[in-house]
């Protein structure tokens, strides 16, 4: 189908983009990579009056090393994330997970900021941002503010970003010694959205879990922390018995939604299987660093 009529504008600075967004209010949408927005417009699932194209704003570009974190400009394309040495060396969880995001032509245009701002419940980058306890930087008419990933994802496609704010960058902490990461996902075809998936960051001391972050995606309405599982693991050493115990408690953390990708019962089962595999993997990887 064809999109309904809209107007188009391409601001030449971030300030201008913010002004436009507050002038037009609810009628406007930011156009980043367009790889989620344009499909919804073409299918007429949404009919904004104005698109504000931010693709040429240099302020939103680039990946850089800043103190204890890596800054990822909102307009960084998926392909640039995948090819970045800074990311591979410093945030291995992201470079592992980005391989699961979409297909080549979509990766050449889709952006990191667009993915996180949209907060699709089956998307990989929001889940990793939450697992890594990243910080999201947004800017609106009242200036810049930082939002912790823990406070950002509210509900289905709902985030702490106000409608008149633009996501400017995401800051992700650089890996430290004693940390281990793993990422797993099941989808029907490589590059499709996940049926079930899991991002994990674990810190160890003397072979025991010191702290664990497990973020589930694809099954809930938003990327979701497995808090019961996390607290069961802390202070313990990995074993088969522990695996069985934590998997049972996953039922208290998740409440999967039925959809075309599968039934709630199947998804819960898949997440249990992935939990076991992912935890075994982080433990094994720790031994290999």
């Amino acid at each position: 189908m064809k999109a309904a009529k809209f107007k188009y504008i391409r601001p030449s600075s971030l300030d201008e983009a913010i002004n436009l967004l507050s002038d037009f209010g609810e009628e406007a949408r930011i156009l980043a990579g367009g790889q989620s927005l344009l499909p919804t417009l073409n299918m007429r699932l949404s009919q904004p009056k104005v698109l504000i194209d931010i693709n040429r704003l240099d302020e939103l570009q680039g990946i850089s090393h800043e103190g204890k974190h890596i800054r990822i400009g909102a307009l960084t394309r998926h392909v640039d994330i995948a090819e970045s040495d800074l990311i591979t060396e410093n945030i291995p969880l992201i470079s592992e997970a980005i391989e699961y995001v979409a297909h080549v032509a979509v990766r050449n245009r889709g952006t990191f900021g667009g993915s996180v701002a949209l907060a699709d419940p089956a998307a990989e980058m929001p889940a990793c941002t939450l697992a890594l306890q990243g910080t999201l930087v947004v800017e609106g008419p009242n200036g810049r503010r930082q939002i912790r990933a823990d406070d950002f994802f509210h509900d289905l496609y709902e985030t702490a970003r106000a409608p008149e704010e633009i996501l400017v960058e995401v800051q992700l902490p650089i890996r430290r010694s004693g940390e281990s990461f793993a990422f797993m996902e099941l989808s029907r075809r490589k590059g499709d959205y996940a049926m079930a998936g899991l991002a994990c960051k674990a810190t160890f001391q003397d072979n025991r879990f010191l702290s664990v972050r497990l973020v589930y995606f694809g099954t809930e309405l938003k990327p979701t922390l497995g808090e019961n599982v996390m607290s069961q693991l802390e202070g313990r050493e990995w074993s088969e018995t522990l695996a069985e115990k934590v998997i049972a408690s996953l039922e208290d953390d998740l409440d999967p939604v039925d959809n075309l990708q599968g039934s709630a019962a199947m998804k819960l089962h898949l997440q249990k299987v992935l939990t076991k595999r992912t935890l075994a993997e982080v433990v094994q990887r720790l031994g290999n660093v």
Partner: protein, 163 residues
């Protein structure tokens, strides 16, 4: 401030083009309806099938998910330009030899995507080729012949380099 129509200048298959386009017109409608370049196809118009694949500023994109207005100042290459440049003439010949198309609807998109894979000049295993091509649908061939053609071309190019 915000516009219903935009004046754009871009390069299409090596030629300068200027036009006035509606804001909502996507790149493939512009190519097909304004420039009569009908090699780029529209299957789904929402990013799923890859029939609309074209090269913009050096990389393959979904032509149905880029607005013509966004391509102001860009360098666009369609299957017509790719064929003329002979960049993938070997792949095109192998497509014929291996019977890698039946109705041909997906073929321009397959070639545009495979061109990017071949340009990387990496050695890829068959399953990696499959993964790279996973965003392009074919309703006829069952994919094997397409992957065969790409694999054979890739191997032949490497062979040529070695000799």
């Amino acid at each position: 401030m915000a516009y219903d129509f935009l004046d754009i200048k871009l390069i299409v298959n090596g030629e300068q083009v200027s036009a006035r386009v509606p804001a909502r017109m996507h790149l493939v409608d512009f190519l097909r309806m304004e420039l009569e370049l009908t090699g780029s196809h529209l299957g789904c118009e929402h990013g799923i099938c890859g029939a609309c694949s074209v090269r913009v500023d050096g990389v393959v994109v979904r032509g149905c998910l880029v607005l013509a207005a966004q391509c102001d100042g860009s360098d666009v290459l369609t299957i017509e330009g790719l064929s003329e440049s002979k960049e993938v003439v070997d792949l095109q010949n192998t497509f014929v030899e291996r019977n890698a198309m039946q109705c041909g609807f997906c073929t321009p998109g397959m070639l545009m995507t495979a061109a990017e894979l071949l340009a990387k000049n990496d050695k890829m295993a068959r399953n990696e080729i499959r993964e790279f091509m996973s965003g392009n649908f074919c309703r006829c061939t069952g994919y094997h012949a397409i992957i065969d053609a790409i694999e054979i071309t890739m191997e032949a190019r490497r062979e040529e380099e070695r000799s």
